[in-house]
Symmetry: C2
């Protein structure tokens, strides 16, 4: 499948070309990788796999992919990026397994890693060395191929959670792929990844979504929402994200997420007790800790 026509370009300016990239799930996450690698001149042909034929046709019309293929065909690509909700990753890997090219490198973009690794081991068996787990910490409230953005990963962090079985060259190639998208790449243990992402990524989404569901359910929701300002706008932005993707994240990382939720509830209890008691000092101390922590957070 090496594209003869692009033979002169098999070496990009900053690294080797991926002759054939297959993207499974050509939406915001997968489509943005395809666009970024194309823009960097680091990919030959891009194949797309998806459940929705219309969505794939739009992805092709938008120039994200060159052709729509089956998972079985995708399994022969040089690199296969799985960018679907994490709950379906195991089943997809099991489907790819019998058709997997000997040198095909698999990677994913899932937001949780421990369950993904477990599912990959079960699905791939002795071919699990070909799977390098990854997670780009970038996203947007939009979804679908129209949301793809070549700059989505620029300056963002991608976490790889390599397996002991992964050959160093495979890990290096996935690292190179994300660096070509403009990202900074770090390695972590899968369990540590999930413990850290529960508080800084999954919890904000849970709180924003629970809040948004509550405010929209009120009888006077239109009157309320008409008066919402820029604070509301930014606070709720993430609540518009893909419900399917976030359902899988919450289920996959529920142990860590529920532990964090208990800790957040304890702080809400403190705030509520301070309000009930009219204790301005306790309330201000809590708000001061929050404000200081946020102001000290790295500026972007």
């Amino acid at each position: 499948m090496t594209p003869a026509a692009t033979g002169a370009a098999t070496q990009g300016a900053e690294g080797p070309l991926i002759p054939v990239l297959a993207v499974i799930g050509v939406g915001l996450i997968g489509g943005s990788v395809a666009l970024a690698l194309r823009q960097a001149g680091r990919v030959g042909r891009v194949l797309g796999v998806g459940r929705n034929a219309q969505s794939l046709a739009r992805a092709q019309a938008l120039g994200l992919i060159d052709a729509a293929v089956t998972p079985e065909e995708a399994a022969q690509a040089d690199v296969v990026l799985l960018a679907t909700p994490v709950g379906g990753l195991g089943a997809m890997l099991a489907r790819l397994r019998p058709h997997l090219g000997a040198a095909t490198l698999l990677t994913d973009a899932g937001s949780t890693k421990a369950e993904v690794v477990e599912a990959a081991r079960a699905a791939l068996g002795d071919r699990v060395a070909q799977f390098v787990p990854g997670h780009p910490i970038a996203g947007a409230e939009r979804s679908g191929p129209e949301a793809a953005d070549a700059g989505l990963y620029r300056g963002r962090t991608v976490i790889l959670t390599p397996l002991p079985e992964n050959p160093p060259a495979g890990v290096a190639r996935v690292r190179d792929l994300w660096q070509a998208c403009g990202a900074r790449v770090i390695d972590m243990d899968a369990a540590a990844h999930d413990r850290v992402l529960a508080p800084v990524s999954h919890m904000p989404h849970l709180l924003a979504a629970a809040y948004m569901a509550q405010v929209a359910a009120a009888a006077d929701a239109p009157a309320r929402l008409a008066l919402a300002g820029t604070g509301f706008r930014d606070f709720t932005r993430i609540a518009a994200g893909s419900p399917e993707m976030w359902r899988d994240i919450f289920l996959s990382n529920r142990a860590a997420l529920r532990a964090e939720l208990a800790a957040v509830r304890a702080v809400l209890d403190q705030a509520e007790q301070a309000m009930a008691a009219g204790d301005g000092g306790a309330l201000e101390a809590l708000l001061e800790r929050a404000a200081q922590a946020r102001r000290n957070w790295r500026k972007e």
Copy 2:
């Protein structure tokens, strides 16, 4: 105190000039009004009142005010804008009361209104007709005179909650002041204002602050925060706001806020039960309601 030197400019391009404006609390909120009115050519002299002499000196150096004065001197201005945390408004109005000019118009920028109106009645007595309560729905995570921005209110909504005692000309003048800052002005009942602002403004701040205090208190907070991305950034932005201002808002509107918090907790309970039961359908339905509500919210 009418500035003779600007006699030729007593009529601005779009309405009458405020010959002397006094701003009590020259930070983000008050300083931005001063800057916007200056930019629109709608104010003569601007006087500033504040507890902190250094902050007032910076406000003067930045061109927000022409001079720092005492509350007693400020009480003689044509318009006095109180832009301090709501908890101190009653005491400030009581201090202004004995020195209040016969035609001086008082207004405020406090984020809650029912308690402010009550405090104003107690402090001003038979002069309460001179006080027109207001609330600009605009803000930023920054504070202090350096945060002042002439464009802060452009395209934003300002709610006035006029008193039965207010003469129409007084209300019209305050409306005109905010319109000159670029805002859209609407009138509401003070109690209705507080009931609506609890869910769309005060609750996001409470959740963002409680979350931020929790995430920052963890033993591995630096490792967590280093991996936080754009979702975290937007979700927590408001948590950096003035602790003193928000303490007063929470105390002032605690009845409505606690009722809303109970409703948010009920949705969190649903999410937690769905996670505990591995009920993907229930979790997705909740996330779908939130995502649809957020996507349908007016775009900005």
